[in-house]
């Protein structure tokens, strides 16, 4: 019984961890909390609708490419010009961009949610003893693990990864050793875009529609996850996101029916408690500018 809840919660936790990583990566490289990140996921959802009738690999590839292009355009057209401005300016730019993308989606796809035909092959359930594991949960957990490992290898083993981490710690010094910050920041947006596309595919596969406002709740989760995990720390971000998703699903499963409406309230109360105990997050990174 409890084990069943835990399995379901691990699924949600994994998805939230991925959401948080994409946001936290860009934050740690350039101190930008990109609130338009949720709209990247939303755009991924619409790409899925447009590509729904294509073979699965075209759908996956097309969605990733579409989101990465938008992510790169964001960096080039909106964030690069304000890179040396104050954190507040960058923040407001990201809010404006989020609104712009939402309204554009609303004009392009209409005010009503657009239906997304279900992927019946994903709703298969496996039985292990008296536990049920859906194929979607397995895919979500596996994808998250693979993404986290790939991201870790990328950051640890490649030149661009080392340069990314160096820039995260000390931008000025990274310039002094000849790191091209444009390239490094653009790479962060590419990775963030890939993560947003993966999140979109995992998230909307379990939904029946995509709406122009779909990104809002996602970026909130990612933001809170990154903050409680510890801004600037990748491990912290993944952990924070995971805990958000895990706790939320557990609350929904364990609370008596009449109290379930309070699941959000309880979750965010817990968030406040965590931040009171550890204001810099669970895993506080050193020397982070907020």
């Amino acid at each position: 019984m409890y084990l069943q809840y835990i399995i379901d919660s691990i699924g949600t936790g994994s998805l939230y961890a991925l959401m948080t990583l994409g946001l936290a990566l860009v934050f740690s490289v350039m101190g930008l909390m990109n609130f338009a990140y949720g709209q990247l996921v939303m755009i991924g959802g619409f790409a899925m609708i447009l590509l729904r009738s294509q073979p699965w690999w075209v759908l996956i590839l097309g969605t990733v490419v579409a989101v990465v292009i938008v992510s790169l355009l964001m960096e080039r057209l909106a964030f690069r010009p304000v890179r040396t401005a104050t954190a507040m300016t960058m923040l407001i730019t990201s809010f404006a961009l989020a609104q712009l993308l939402q309204q554009a989606a609303r004009v392009a796809f209409g005010a009503n949610p657009r239906p997304l035909e279900q992927f019946s092959e994903l709703s298969v359930q496996y039985t292990v003893g008296d536990l049920y594991i859906s194929r979607m949960t397995l895919i979500t957990v596996t994808t998250t693990l693979v993404s986290v490992v790939v991201l870790a290898l990328l950051l640890k083993r490649t030149n661009i990864g080392v340069q990314l981490r160096a820039s995260t710690e000390d931008v000025e010094m990274s310039k002094l050793v000849g790191i091209r910050s444009n390239r490094v920041i653009a790479s962060a947006f590419v990775i963030s875009g890939v993560l947003a596309a993966i999140v979109a595919m995992l998230f909307f596969s379990t939904r029946t529609n995509v709406s122009w406002s779909s990104g809002e709740s996602i970026v909130l989760i990612a933001f809170v996850g990154a903050v409680i995990g510890g801004l600037g720390s990748m491990v912290g971000a993944a952990l924070g996101g995971f805990l958000m998703g895990f706790t939320y699903t557990m609350l929904n499963a364990l609370l008596p029916v009449e109290l379930r409406v309070f699941a959000d309230a309880i979750l965010y109360t817990l968030v406040i408690v965590v931040l009171l105990i550890r204001p810099a997050g669970i895993i506080a990174a050193k020397g982070v500018r907020v």
Partner: protein, 240 residues
């Protein structure tokens, strides 16, 4: 032609003028020091050469080409590497990663690997802790790492901003020994220091910087009376 030449350099932060009319030059293979007290504009001068601050006026020429106002990456690629004030090693990168990131401007992987090996031969402690987070090194080890990281770009000119700051006297001696060795191997060195006595002893020539950027040039072994006058003046001033 001098390797590096500053003419009429003026650096200002908004209204506040940090350096006013600075002239100095370095020849290839020379070890030159710039000494002066807190706040006279030594670090500002280093930052201007390295491209971190744009001078308000004046020129900075390297191998005859004006480089003032260019980006740090461009200046590094021309052959000027910096060991900045406070070392600024990447604490969350390993020692080896700090060194490889120092070679960002170089392309040839196997040549970089060879430099890495010769670097850990020269600095055995860096080899010993190569896989360790650099933030865990002691102050002296971090200073060695900062110097080694700068050398990884194979610079023609090495700028050092107070490398002896915060180090025990023995370690300071080691740092100066190292600079002497580098000099002997042909690296041109521009050292900024408050530790006047040691800097003067180690270098071929030195400049004294006073508030407002006024500079007096003294060649070592030149008019000795004049030199000791400046030293006395400087050291006396330093006691305040």
């Amino acid at each position: 032609m001098s390797l590096l030449e500053l003419q009429g350099l003026r650096i200002a932060y908004g209204e506040a003028v940090a350096v006013q009319g600075l002239d100095l030059h370095l020849d290839e293979g020379e070890f030159v020091s710039l000494i002066g007290h807190n706040g006279v504009g030594k670090s500002s001068t280093v930052k201007a050469i390295a491209g971190l601050v744009k001078p308000a006026a004046g020129t900075i020429s390297f191998t005859g080409e004006e480089i003032q106002g260019k980006d740090p990456g461009v200046i590094l690629r021309k052959g000027i590497a910096v060991v900045p004030e406070g070392r600024r090693i990447f604490t969350r990168l390993t020692v080896k990663e700090n060194l490889t990131v120092g070679a960002t401007v170089r392309k040839d992987r196997s040549a970089i690997e060879a430099s890495y090996r010769s670097m850990i031969e020269r600095f055995p402690v860096l080899g010993k802790y190569s896989g360790r987070m650099a933030g865990l090194l002691s102050g002296g080890e971090q200073q060695q790492l900062a110097i080694a990281r700068a050398l990884m770009s194979e610079p023609r000119l090495l700028l050092l901003d107070e490398p002896s700051l915060g180090l025990a006297p023995q370690i300071v001696d080691q740092v100066f020994d190292l600079l002497g060795e580098l000099r002997a191997q042909g690296t041109t060195i521009f050292l900024v220091e408050q530790n006047a006595a040691q800097a003067i002893r180690a270098s071929d020539r030195y400049y004294v910087m006073r508030t407002g950027g006024v500079i007096q040039v003294e060649a070592k072994g030149g008019d000795s009376a004049d030199v000791s006058a400046i030293e006395a003046d400087y050291l006396h001033f330093g006691k305040v």
